[in-house]
Symmetry: C2
Subunit: 411 residues, 2 copies
């Protein structure tokens, strides 16, 4: 099998090529964070009636024309519009009806004078010291949304305000893409369950935990298939299980040449398998495999937790977003912040270097990115870091004081 | 009761004064997004043994000194160290043992030569074309973490890598602050449940939905206490219920003077009530009440969904973070991005204006903040926006082309 190392951009192009998982219908109160699968057309107009946006008096705007502090208009109070009721008072010329924010405009009125411009002379009369124009301080029946308008677009992620608009329209259930399911397999003869005390030469199964937590954080559902020894039949059987129960399979532990070769051998066994990447020109994270079995993506991730997490941040976040239903429109709003580098960092050309950084704040509130060095196999380097910067493969490094984009780990 | 309008900074100071809710113990796999309540001290060292970080040959570094392509060192292969096993081969002078990434260094070896610098001459001999120094390509037993060192600090939010470090140390359960519980009351005679078709003058209960979704998004647990008519006894009884079952009570619907007055009257009924704010000098969101009943914060939020959501973004996010256990150390990493204003926006002095904006991308990838205008009661303005900018009360506005910080709504 040929050795196909691809660039960061090529790998991103591959993950962006995967479409969303299937549609389900969920109650609107469970939809936060999920992506709509269809446009939502408004079944009615909102708010549906003429509504005041202030506390004050509903009047005929014309009756206030020319009114000022020195020359106020005098109006007769003909009652009060109660909240939630249809006011049964007609506002005729020279009359005013008391009204509270959100209340329905009584018939005949076409504007509301704010309370602060109304001075009560006696229990029947107010003095209006300011002119209003028609519809001033009034929300019209379809100001918020028109019947038949697109309320929300397919592929948008449901935020609290989007849920609110749906609630306001009386939409109880909506079509969304369900949460993607990710099968996670941790390989390696040296890996033991975390409840065991590892003997010499053995380590606990960190990756099942980091990758599961990562999935949950990204809105996906992790299915931990457990530990797998470096054994062809065991890995093949777990991979079959993963392909059957999940939308994608992530195998961690292919850092050593032997394990990587075995992952490839198992992949070759599957019909309709296409090897998309055998290595990505990044550091850390180079020994990453991307394959497609049928319509499902299989990722072979480095065994080093720190390397696996870099691959997750750079590629699997975007991959999960695509499976979840994003069409990439939200990409401009990704979590990166600008900071100044605290020191020079050299980089080998020919690969993208992802340097973990801590963010520190100077006394003048300037954010500083301080590189966290350490052997790439160490998880402590990731724990100390807030995010990472990318040094592109054509660059020789970054300089002290240079402005860098820090991709933040979720926090 | 006096009318106590406070500034944005004063309101932030108030919400930052609330401490975390109580401690619970959770399995490490359920801890993502929760805040640690105590420092975690490492019970052991990690990885716990000398481990190679590359594929190659374990050797005595001294045997490679001076080796180069033109003058390679010749070493005898004396076996292979199997993954997960304690190698029972001693590396003596002139010998090399094959080893895979992550494997345990055999006794006698003090470094690993990468595979690419080893050329196999015959099945017993390799040619080493590069010198290594002692411990090169080797992770020492306590390189990742030392026994007794602070692995994670109290008040830090658990990310995938933090969970991973705990898993690596065999820590199964950890002390965290539990998710804060928020009681939500939606007041107003005009409000109907969302499954009902509102008659004229009435609207559906949007705020219970937006505020619940907001809580979930922020890691808190919403308890929707339901609709409340503009009635003293009904509100008092719901507020008592909220104070009994939740860590904080949020009452939405106090936009009209009448409802606001009633909320205050009900608050006054409680012993140990302290009114902290009766209005915040912001727009929208001015008619916000903050009170403390015993140790619990009660918020009276504007009834307009858009105004309530601005208050939630600016103050309640930070409030929930504090209840959840943040000590403010993560504040520098808040979700804001820089963009250029698309046009001038004027602002009244004396209050902070929060202007909703859409983010658009120009062909040169420059992000542009485009204000979303519309009457403040409209939820559609929030649906169209990606975030908001703050125009400080001493500023007269922002100018076209000015760089602004956009506080992103979660996406």
């Amino acid at each position: 099998m040929f050795f196909k190392v691809i660039t960061t951009e090529e790998a991103l192009e591959i993950v962006r090529g995967f479409g969303p998982v299937e549609e389900v219908t969920v109650p609107v109160s469970d939809a936060t964070g999920l992506y709509l699968s269809r446009d939502i057309i408004s079944p009615e107009e909102l708010p549906g009636f003429y509504r005041t946006s202030v506390d004050g008096y509903a009047v005929k705007a014309q009756d206030t024309f020319g009114a000022s502090e020195s020359l106020p208009a005098f109006l007769e109070i003909s009652g009060e519009a109660l909240m939630g009721d249809v006011p049964d008072i007609l506002v005729s010329h020279g009359k005013a009806v008391k009204i509270s924010t959100g209340g329905m405009l009584p018939e005949g009125a076409d504007g509301v004078v704010m309370l602060e411009y109304c001075h009560t002379l006696d229990k029947n009369t107010i003095e209006v010291s300011r002119a209003i124009s028609p519809l001033e301080n009034v929300i019209s029946p379809d100001d918020d949304i028109k019947r038949g308008a697109t309320a929300l677009r397919a592929h948008s992620k449901m935020r609290p305000q989007d849920i609110g608009l749906l609630a306001g329209l009386g939409i109880m259930d909506i079509p969304v893409f369900r949460r993607p399911r990710v099968a996670i397999i941790s390989t390696g003869d040296e890996i033991v369950p975390i409840e065991n005390k590892p003997g010499p030469g053995r380590v606990r199964d960190i990756n099942s935990y980091t990758l599961s937590a990562f999935c949950r954080e990204q809105g996906a559902e992790p299915l931990v298939l457990g530990l797998c020894r470096d054994d062809f039949h065991e890995l093949k059987s777990l991979m079959e299980k993963g392909l059957a129960c999940a939308d994608t399979v992530w195998i961690s532990g292919g850092s050593s040449v032997g394990t990587r070769d075995m992952t490839l051998k198992v992949l070759e066994f599957f019909d309709h398998m296409e090897l998309l990447a055998h290595g990505i020109s990044i550091s850390p994270g180079k020994p990453t495999i991307i394959a497609k079995v049928g319509s499902r993506a299989v990722f072979g991730l480095p065994g080093h937790t720190a390397s696996a997490m870099v691959v997750a941040e750079v590629f699997l976040k975007e991959f999960i977003r695509r499976l979840s239903g994003s069409n990439g429109d939200d990409a401009g709003l990704s979590r990166s912040i600008k900071a100044l580098m605290s020191r020079n960092v050299e980089s080998k050309s020919g690969r993208d270097d992802f340097i973990r950084v801590r963010i520190e704040k100077e006394s003048n509130d300037q954010l500083i990115a301080v590189p966290v060095f350490g052997k790439s196999g160490l998880i402590s380097t990731l724990v100390e870091a807030h995010g990472m910067i990318r040094i592109e493969r054509n660059s020789e490094g970054v300089y002290q004081g240079q402005v860098v984009d820090v991709m933040l780990f979720n926090n």
